[in-house]
């Protein structure tokens, strides 16, 4: 029942999710939406770890725990990133990347 869907569909799904995150990272100009793109990427990685764990190596839990720790760290990273974004907003009164760019070559 569990393995009726091929692992490849899962991996293609996570790949699409990951690369929409990458595309978002490049096209987005708003710091918060960039952060969202990063969360998409990390989520895709989590799917990968869990699917590999379930389909290929169900006799141990390494992938499961790896994704558990990724979730924990992603939360920590997001909290610091949001503190930094609010810090930016206080100074520049905007969080658009193109305006937060005082340093030039």
């Amino acid at each position: 029942m569990l393995y009726t869907i091929s692992i490849k569909y899962f991996l293609i799904l996570s790949t699409l999710m990951f690369f929409s995150g990458v595309a978002g990272f490049i096209i987005r100009k708003n710091l918060i939406t960039i952060l969202m793109s990063v969360e998409l990427m990390l989520n895709a990685v989590n799917i990968n770890f869990l699917v590999f764990n379930r389909y290929l190596y169900p006799d141990q839990l390494q992938g499961h725990f790896f994704s558990l720790f990724i979730v924990a760290i992603a939360a920590a990273e997001a909290s610091v990133a949001i503190a930094l974004i609010i810090n930016i907003y206080r100074r520049f009164n905007t969080i658009m990347v193109n305006k937060v760019d005082e340093m030039k070559y």
Binding site: F66, I88, R91
Partner: protein, 473 residues
């Protein structure tokens, strides 16, 4: 698992104890007197180093998640020393009225990153590696945004955390593929199980891309210059020396000891990255006027040279990388130290401001000259030997055309490293920086760097020791 086994990680435990001591001091200190704790931070980092030196022992604990050996212990001590120098250099900045009530936060964050780097260096599996890497990165973003006086600092913080999040994403995506093909996250098991197939190759490429972001190899270096320029100078030197050193160490180790079986692929990637990094770092360094930015690009170029050592693929290769990192720490921190002293005294940071410095501040000028000569690799300064051994390691594997590119780049770099020297010694100006006496702690930090440069340059025993404890493919 008993107490004696836990003591294998005595260095990390000492650092964690230091973190707790700092946390308690933060709670019980009053707002006005926090700067009194500055010597405490010096003592704690020294103490952690001494504990690591005395009680440190080799071993593998936590079922292979943590491993310690002579090379790792040496690397940790090198990082301790570098952190101590950074602490010495940061004293004036941290005493500034705007930072005075946040002194302990600064040290807390630095200690947290140092703990992360130690665990990363000692990691025996990819989970600890990832945790250490994140612990070494997230607090640094907060440190980069530490400066309240400058908008640039806030900008540096957000740029650092977002680019590091992107690189972490790429790296983890690669690691998930490695896990998919080998079924393990332990280094020792992956080493046995990894084979040359399309999925594991793709995973390795993503992994290398992620690491290339972290150690700012071109073309993944775009965040570096802004972050280095915007961050407070102490954080910049910490980032460019300590973080980078730790990341390069573990990168080398993983390539050798985990991806050893697939070296045919990663050597080609590294050759490409090395050529691009050296060239781009040099070309951008040529046109910088701000010294922090200048040192940022020069450190990008230096990372390109370090790749040559990694390509050596032998104990000599690894030894030469660590040896170069040691010299790089002294020369880069020496240069940053002088820049920090002058910046703290006058607020001036561009090369043009340094005109005629030799006439007014001869000692500082000589120190900066020595550091820049070492970065450029001019004999007989230590940096020359560092580069020589790196080139030698690459030559042993027959990368002759890469060596040629490297030598051309080293020659170009001579030119721009000599620009500040020329400004200080030859060019004249009506209003040079006035004569002043550097603050004792900062002067001490530069003095340590200069002594280090001389000692590491002439004591070949250091290099021999590092090679003897290194391991190749």
């Amino acid at each position: 698992m008993g107490l004696t086994e836990i003591l294998t990680m005595s260095h990390e435990l000492a650092l964690i104890a230091a973190l707790i001591i700092l946390l308690i001091s933060e709670i019980f200190s009053d707002e006005k007197s926090k700067y009194k704790f500055i010597p405490l931070a010096f003592a704690l980092i020294l103490g952690a180093g001494v504990v690591g030196l005395i009680f440190g022992k080799t071993g593998i604990i936590f079922g292979g998640m943590y491993q310690n050996d002579a090379l790792r212990m040496a690397m940790k001590l090198i990082l301790d020393l570098a952190t101590l120098i950074v602490f010495l250099q940061s004293t004036e900045w941290i005493k500034h009225p705007h930072n005075k009530n946040r002194v302990l936060e600064f040290y807390l964050l630095v200690f947290a990153t140092l703990i992360g780097m130690n665990f990363m260096i000692s990691s025996g599996d990819f989970l600890m590696f990832y945790l250490g890497l994140e612990l070494a990165t997230i607090p640094i973003a907060a440190l980069a945004a530490f400066d309240r006086l400058k908008n640039n600092s806030a900008e540096a913080g957000i740029k650092l955390i977002l680019s590091s999040a992107l690189s972490t994403g790429l790296l983890l995506y690669g690691l998930s593929m490695i896990y998919g093909t080998t079924g393990s996250i332990y280094f020792s098991e992956i080493k046995e199980l990894i084979t040359l197939n399309s999925l594991s190759m793709l995973g390795m490429i993503f992994f290398i891309t992620g690491m290339a972001f972290k150690i700012s190899l071109a073309p993944f270096h775009f965040w570096t210059a802004d972050v280095y320029q915007g961050s407070p100078i102490a954080v910049t030197s910490y980032l460019s020396v300590v973080s980078k050193g730790a990341a390069i160490f573990i990168f080398t180790f993983v390539l050798y000891n985990v991806f050893g079986a697939t070296s045919a692929i990663w050597t080609q990637i590294l050759v490409m990255l090395s050529v691009i990094t050296m060239t781009i770092g040099n070309l951008f360094a040529l046109r910088q006027q701000n010294l922090k930015r200048f040192l940022a690009y020069s450190s990008i170029a230096q990372a390109g040279f370090i790749m040559l050592g990694i390509l050596g693929q032998s104990a000599i290769g690894m030894g030469s990388v660590i040896y170069f990192l040691l010299i790089y720490i002294f020369s880069n921190l020496g240069a940053f130290g002088v820049v920090a002293i002058i910046s703290a005294q006058t607020g001036k940071e561009t090369i043009a401001d340094y005109r005629g410095l030799y006439a007014t501040n001869p000692k500082l000028s000589l120190a900066l000259m020595l550091a820049l000569f070492s970065l450029a690799g001019i004999p007989p300064v230590a940096g020359f030997f560092g580069k020589l051994f790196l080139f030698n390691a690459a030559a042993s594997q027959g990368y002759y055309w890469l060596l040629f590119v490297a030598v051309v780049n080293a020659t170009i770099s001579l030119y721009y490293y000599l620009l500040p020297v020329k400004a200080m010694f030859i060019e004249k100006t009506d209003s040079p920086i006035a004569t002043f006496k550097a603050k004792p702690y900062m002067a001490l930090s530069v003095a340590i760097c200069m002594v280090g440069l001389v000692v590491t340059g002439f004591a070949s025993v250091i290099f021999e020791y590092l090679v003897s404890v290194s391991s190749g493919l």
